[in-house]
Symmetry: C2
Subunit: 297 residues, 2 copies
């Protein structure tokens, strides 16, 4: 089982082409809807009692929701606007709502999970949640600028405790205070994790382990409709492939990088989670082959 | 023979670590000092009578200088400052000097050159120069924001007339007015060239032909000292490898992309042209192998 701990949100996303209000989003949603193509996936999160039934059904049909609590109050909301070329996102508002006082717990039946992904939650919560598992094969985490600025100590503790960190380039630079990305990756490895991934949006991502630095370019997409969730979908594909292979050797990690990029590239082809919902396993394998073929020389 | 038409400059380069004044630079200098590792290279350019003898000797020892004129006046000068992480360059001053009224001509002995690279010169000059060759196997050009803003018509004419354009991402977007890079590349192909390369700095580059989109990530460098000349060194390596192979098939183009990135990665490892001067052919082949190995999965 893969357990994903993160937000389930109602997103309002504004792009130059379209605005969509209160659509299903959140880091856990994207990651889990991506990883479930590879391996059984379970959620730990909380929504309010305003959470639409149809969204609940979308999740229910695809994931184990034992760990999804419905609390009195409103669901976490995030409102943002992308600029003309979809390269920058401006936050308009964040309403924590039920997330603010949520005390996450790992359900009994999740405790022996082999794979755990900790979204960009409060790092002290991530550390707490980690303790409740009985030794997963791989734990991975993400974080965001807000926590690096306000809870740096906890961020560092969290990175020490996981097997894998998956970060954006800016966050990586901010944590180790080093502009050169290759050095960033190596410094992050020194903190403790065996695997570090630095994501660079449309420019792809770089895998770091003790033995290799493996950069891959982004999948060449002609059209991007909504970049929301690309990073979490990447994480889902990455962990998902490792989970179904059940091993952490170099070839599996490299292929997992490709699957991560494949899932991120699908996520941005349509608004919100739409493409993740319409996707067939065959589409994923075809794009994986196409990607390998493109990169091959 | 490869003929490179562009600037030979005295650069003043300021980085957070070091400032170097009046060092040998210019688009033609970087491109030619890179391509000469692969194939005999000749220059078309002009310097003033203040051009230091030791710089002349550096060029003389490595290149055919029949097309390098020494004119009354001062050499072209370019002064710029890089920001803390070397990702942005601010122009402090540009003195055209002898370049301003230079009327470039192709020497008789260059006219049957098989390969021609036109740097970021005035596009109408590039078009004029092109006419003076007897049908090269491959012609390639670069351009910059200044010409796209001020001489768009000539830029388009130039792109129509060459076999290959090599541009930065921002310039590509500006020319075809399209934010998505993959579409940019395809739209540039529609203008006429058989080969389009979009450079993305540390994120690598993308090759476009009628048949393929081939993205490659940047070579993972730990330390960058001075990004000056990376793009022109890329162009030198790219054209140089095609020239020594003497063909334009897909495998040669793909390998040329790697050699381009290899030469760009060497150029930025030291200040100005220093690394291009200390480089041995074996270093290039070793990094090419290392690069292929890194990208391999």
């Amino acid at each position: 089982m893969i357990v994903v701990f993160g937000t389930v949100a109602l997103d309002t996303t504004r792009t130059p082409f379209k605005t969509a209000e209160n659509i299903l989003g959140g880091s856990a949603t994207y990651c889990a809807l991506s990883s479930k193509f590879f391996y059984r996936t379970s959620l730990i999160s909380a929504v309010g009692n305003d959470f639409p039934k149809e969204f609940k059904k979308i999740l229910q049909d695809r994931l184990d929701l034992t760990g999804l609590k419905t609390l009195d109050g409103k669901t976490f909301r995030y409102d943002s606007t992308f600029d003309y070329d979809l390269s920058k996102r401006i936050e308009n508002s964040t309403e924590l709502n039920v997330i603010e006082h949520f005390k996450p717990e790992v359900p009994e039946e999740y405790r022996d999970a082999e794979f755990v992904y900790l979204g960009n939650n409060d790092p002290s919560q991530n550390i707490e949640i980690l303790k409740q598992f009985d030794g997963p094969k791989l734990t991975a985490c993400d974080t965001i600028e807000f926590w690096i600025k306000n809870k740096k100590h906890d961020v560092m503790e969290m990175i020490k405790k996981v097997g894998c960190v998956i970060l954006n380039d800016d966050e990586a630079r901010m944590i180790v205070k080093e502009p050169a990305l290759i050095k960033c990756g190596k410094k992050l490895l020194e903190i403790g994790p065996k695997v570090v991934i630095i994501k660079k949006g449309e420019h792809g991502s770089i895998l770091f382990t003790e033995d290799v630095v493996f950069p891959i370019p982004g999948y060449p997409l002609e059209e991007i409709l909504d970049p929301t969730g690309a990073g979490d979908s990447f994480a889902g594909g990455f962990i998902g492939h490792i989970a179904r292979k059940g091993k952490l050797n170099l070839q599996t990690l490299k292929d997992a990088m490709i699957y991560g990029n494949v899932m991120g590239s699908f996520a941005v082809e349509d608004f919100g989670i739409n493409r993740l919902l319409s996707l067939k396993p065959k589409d994923i394998e075809n794009r994986f082959k196409d990607y390998k073929n493109i990169l091959n020389f």
